[in-house]
Symmetry: C2
Subunit: 326 residues, 2 copies
């Protein structure tokens, strides 16, 4: 059954179970914000064949990953989610099942974090496009910003990197997985298809941060990109120690150290948090985080991002002279 067979009203009916019927295409949503908190808003647009592909990604996976990307943007600012809106552009010959599965994936992820779909819009287009705006709330003193990294702070990551990229590789070339156990394979594929936003990290931070300003963002575009962006926005630099970059045992066993390092730095879509904060606070936070979380380096004044070899020599200048971008 295609969308053009049942029309917009028919499609809205099918999606009612995911979103209150009086919201999609009707009144806007009315929400309450905790009076002590500020509203955080992030927007993300996903386009077919740019951000996902109908051919390689099942629609429930597209939905889950879209939800995670948006909740991760909130987590990266220190905010807890209140709701999201979904603006959907769909071709008339798209199957109704595809749209239902997309919403199913969205809803499954959102439910884990008690986040409702509070509204949206659906319209016809030749290109499938998913535009999500996510709302969260945060106490003003707890806002995490990309521009708040300061020299002397350490850089903490909340989990392993490279796993999502490895999962994609396995999905594209299943034969490569012959020396991995089924549960190792599943672990990598889940990392790619069902990544989790690190909202769980926030309460541990609140517990200990007091009035400390924390710099941070998520690693959705890769760990190296996150460090570079943080440095660029804060007007600082960073030294990353190669020996402190956690490599998951599955990755070490599966691919060469060079390949593993490449995926860890540039793989992307791991949706971990990359936080810049005082070392004592970082050490306290680490006690509450699982394997894969680590302090990987520190923020320096000189505006360059350097990877340091095991023997202490400079290995790679990840990014230099980025001031002209700002």
């Amino acid at each position: 059954m295609k969308i053009k067979d049942i029309g917009e009203q028919g499609l809205l009916k099918k999606l009612q179970s995911f979103c209150p019927s009086d919201i999609i295409g009707d009144d806007g949503a009315v929400l309450s914000i905790n009076p002590q908190q500020q509203l955080v808003i992030t927007t993300d647009v996903l386009v077919d064949n740019v951000h996902f592909s109908d051919r390689t990604t099942p629609p429930d996976t597209v939905g889950w990953r879209a939800a995670t990307a948006n909740l991760s943007d909130l987590a990266a600012m220190g905010a807890t989610p209140i709701g999201i809106t979904v603006g959907l552009c769909l071709p008339g010959d798209m199957s109704v099942h595809w749209v239902e599965q997309l919403y199913q994936g969205l809803a499954e992820c959102l439910q884990r974090y008690n986040t409702p779909i509070v509204g949206g819009d659906i319209c016809s287009s030749s290109v499938t496009t998913i535009s999500i705006t996510a709302f969260g709330q945060v106490e003003p003193s707890r806002v995490i910003r990309r521009c708040a990294a300061q020299p002397g702070q350490v850089i903490l990551i909340t989990g392993y990197h490279g796993m999502s990229r490895a999962g994609l590789e396995l999905l594209l070339n299943p034969k490569l997985g012959h020396n991995l156990t089924p549960s190792e394979q599943e672990c990598l594929i889940l990392a790619h298809q069902r990544p989790n936003p690190r909202l769980d990290v926030l309460p541990y931070l609140w517990d200990k941060m007091g009035t400390t300003q924390i710099g941070g963002m998520d690693s959705s575009d890769g760990l190296a990109d996150a460090v570079i962006q943080l440095c660029r926005m804060s007007g600082v630099g960073a030294k990353i120690e190669r020996s402190r970059l956690p490599i998951s045992p599955i990755l070490s066993q599966w691919v060469s150290p060079e390949q593993a390092l490449d995926w860890v730095l540039y793989g992307g879509e791991d949706f971990e948090l990359v936080l810049c904060l005082p070392e004592n606070l970082a050490l306290e936070l680490l006690k509450n985080l699982e394997e894969g979380a680590a302090i990987i380096g520190k923020i320096i004044e000189e505006p360059q991002v350097i990877l340091i070899k095991e023997n202490g020599q400079r290995d790679l200048n990840l990014f230099q002279g980025f001031q002209h971008f700002s």
Copy 2:
């Protein structure tokens, strides 16, 4: 100059004057909500060749109308705007000038209502798509809802209808305007290209509504559609008196009474408010509104929307038996 020539970073730089540079594509926005008020969120997606056409609508007009459509959705819920986010999908061969003009039109309209663009996302797609989410705030007792119309209330419109449709006709067939003065022509074209959201009506309502529940929505999809939607959502019906439907003098003079009535009922995009409220409150409100505002009928229990002729006979049943849609 095309977007692909300057890249996303180049485009963001060009748009910085419309939106703080640290927001588009970077951190999300952090906003404060008045602690006594609730957050209202509405989402609207516009697609090239569906909701606007590059060929007939200049980009600044597309921007203005998109801003008005979203602010009108807030006004229709009784909310004052706080900000909007803009998710933009653009083909790489789109001219940078087009995008700048789009933002110029958006910004011009938003500035009138002190509404900032607080964030957004820009990405590549073969189809130009504009996805706007608007945020407003409202005191809980002042929320206007589509489902709140009650039998006995009168139906008030805040201005003339059919003007936007007439403006479109004039743009499509300029020769038809030969018996209109230049200022009459400009009036119709402005109604189509530069419609205003009726946020100005809200303070007069607040002044007098007390704890009265008001039903309402805007007439963006036409006056008849608005009355039908209000009745459908509230489980009521309506009697509209043809003699009380205001027809603008320009329209009466330009087209036949039948054509004028058709545009008034079905033309769309006038962005007036259609409010259901007690007669005494409606009469008070009318004192503050300009020519074209009127009480056009009343809400009845029987779930049908009837147009009543000058002689009191039923003229047209605009909609009957719509319960099966709900």
